[in-house]
């Protein structure tokens, strides 16, 4: 009896000590390999971190979201929320986004800004993908745009870059880690179903990130910033979403 108890105590103490030493070491290692999301705090952060880390570890970084046939394009394309209600955006819209420019700066070799015509002049990608809202509804649409990776290559991303941050004309800013930023299906989309991107869907240009839920596909883009830390942007959680109770990573 006493022998078993002793052994048990040894095992428990051993695990306890290994755990106490292992957790900070594992956290440092995970952080180094980009396995900790920007919003890992609190009890719910444990689940978020497990999901993000396991997907980044186990799933291929270049796997393509499912693409569909033209015949599968939906007939209804619901949207959540109205276009930005501010003077700057409304003036751009009134002028057909002729003077709109997408500023791209931060940790890049050559900060630049691009007009809508510039973006349309870049090699385009068209993809028919599924977009699901976290609420439960979904639709399939065809999107046309410039791959974000093409624009990132133009401006020359510096090696210390860890995130790309997207600022729209409204408050719904967000960010992507580098695997999703460089992903071939991540588009700066200006076309939808063969037409100009309709205003409710984010005109003139929106992000499309088909490996994540709809709310990551930021609409009404105004500027893009490449950063090595999200600490000083908003509440430092990488997106407006965690500030209003939703997770930064939406690949689920």
């Amino acid at each position: 009896m006493s022998r078993i108890l002793t052994r048990r105590r040894v095992i428990i103490t051993g695990f306890g000590m290994a755990g106490a030493a292992g957790v900070p070491a594992a956290a440092r290692l995970a952080s180094r390999y980009g396995l900790i999301p920007p919003d890992p705090g609190g009890i719910y952060g444990v689940g978020e971190t497990l999901t993000y880390a396991s997907q980044r570890l186990l799933l291929s970084r270049n796997s393509l979201a499912r693409e569909f046939d033209r015949s599968q394009i939906s007939k209804v394309f619901p949207v959540n929320g109205p276009p930005p209600e501010n003077g700057v955006y409304e003036r751009h819209m009134a002028r057909g986004f002729r003077d709109w420019r997408l500023q791209v700066d931060g940790l890049v070799a050559r900060a630049a800004s691009f007009s809508l015509a510039d973006l349309k002049g870049f090699p385009a990608r068209t993809q028919i993908t599924h977009q699901a809202c976290e609420e439960g509804w979904s639709f399939i649409a065809e999107w046309t745009g410039a791959p974000l990776s093409y624009v990132l290559n133009l401006v020359g991303v510096r090696p210390e870059a860890k995130y790309v941050v997207f600022f729209p004309f409204d408050t719904n800013w967000d960010s992507l880690d580098m695997p999703d930023a460089w992903h071939p299906q991540t588009l700066l989309a200006y076309g939808m179903n063969g037409q100009e991107l309709p205003t409710p869907h984010g005109a003139p240009v929106r992000l499309r990130v088909p490996r994540q839920l709809g709310y990551k596909s930021v609409k009404y883009l105004a500027s893009i910033k490449v950063v090595d830390s999200l600490k000083n942007i908003g509440n430092g959680l990488g997106s407006i979403s965690p500030e209003i109770g939703y997770s930064w990573y939406a690949g689920i």
Partner: protein, 214 residues
């Protein structure tokens, strides 16, 4: 457990009658799963309330034909936020607990001994229907729950598209996820009724402390 029972002076025959005895592993995994399932259910309802309508196929939304309109209000005031956080946290808890339970159950022969129908129906603790029900819950319903859950993830299906196409689409997976939830709740209801109806105190003692009153 058998050794410790005899060491504690319990006659061997006492084990064969009355409430089943449960190993520490089964008791711990049972209660963690019970808590996790409750959290999944509550948070799942919070998520469902954002869009209490079910579809078949790949897509669906307001303005498209639905399979089932639940008589529930659309609650769009952010209840799905904490719902989603709690849902995925408790899913992790349940998946790990379930894996440990199933692996240990296979190694120790728990499923074979206690749930598989015995040749001469001499299974001590459960009748044929009960045993099969537990097996279906553990090996069919819970795995399907995990599968249909993962089939709604655009990141997962980018790697394993068949995970969702086999169900006919993302909305079908969501609908099946909901249907299995109902089956699991039905199982839970019968499970609870049977415990209350048989011998509540002893059944609870058995699942908490591992032994029934002598």
């Amino acid at each position: 457990m058998a050794d410790s029972a005899q060491a504690a002076g319990v006659p061997a025959e006492a084990k064969a009658v009355g409430s089943p005895r449960h190993s520490a592993l089964i008791r711990v995994t049972h209660w963690i799963t019970a808590l996790g399932f409750l959290a999944l259910l509550v948070s799942g309802i919070a998520i469902l309330l954002a869009h209490p309508r079910l579809y078949w196929g790949e897509t669906g939304g307001v303005g498209t034909p639905s399979l089932l309109d639940l008589p529930l209000p659309f609650v769009l005031t952010g209840q799905s936020g904490w719902g989603r956080y709690l849902h995925f946290l408790s899913a992790w808890v349940c998946v790990w607990t379930g894996l440990i339970y199933v692996l240990c159950g296979l190694i120790t022969g728990h499923f074979r001994r206690n749930f598989l129908p015995a040749r001469s129906d001499l299974s001590r603790h459960y009748n044929l229907f009960q045993g099969l029900t537990y097996l279906v819950v553990v090996f069919v319903l819970f795995p399907l729950m995990i599968w249909t859950g993962l089939a709604m993830s655009p990141a997962i299906t980018s790697v394993f598209p068949q995970a969702v196409t086999i169900f006919g689409g993302q909305q079908s997976a969501r609908t099946i996820h909901f249907v299995i939830t109902n089956l699991l709740v039905l199982f839970l209801a019968i499970h609870l009724i049977k415990i209350v109806a048989s011998d509540f105190t002893n059944r609870m003692r058995a699942m908490i402390m591992g032994k029934e009153r002598a």
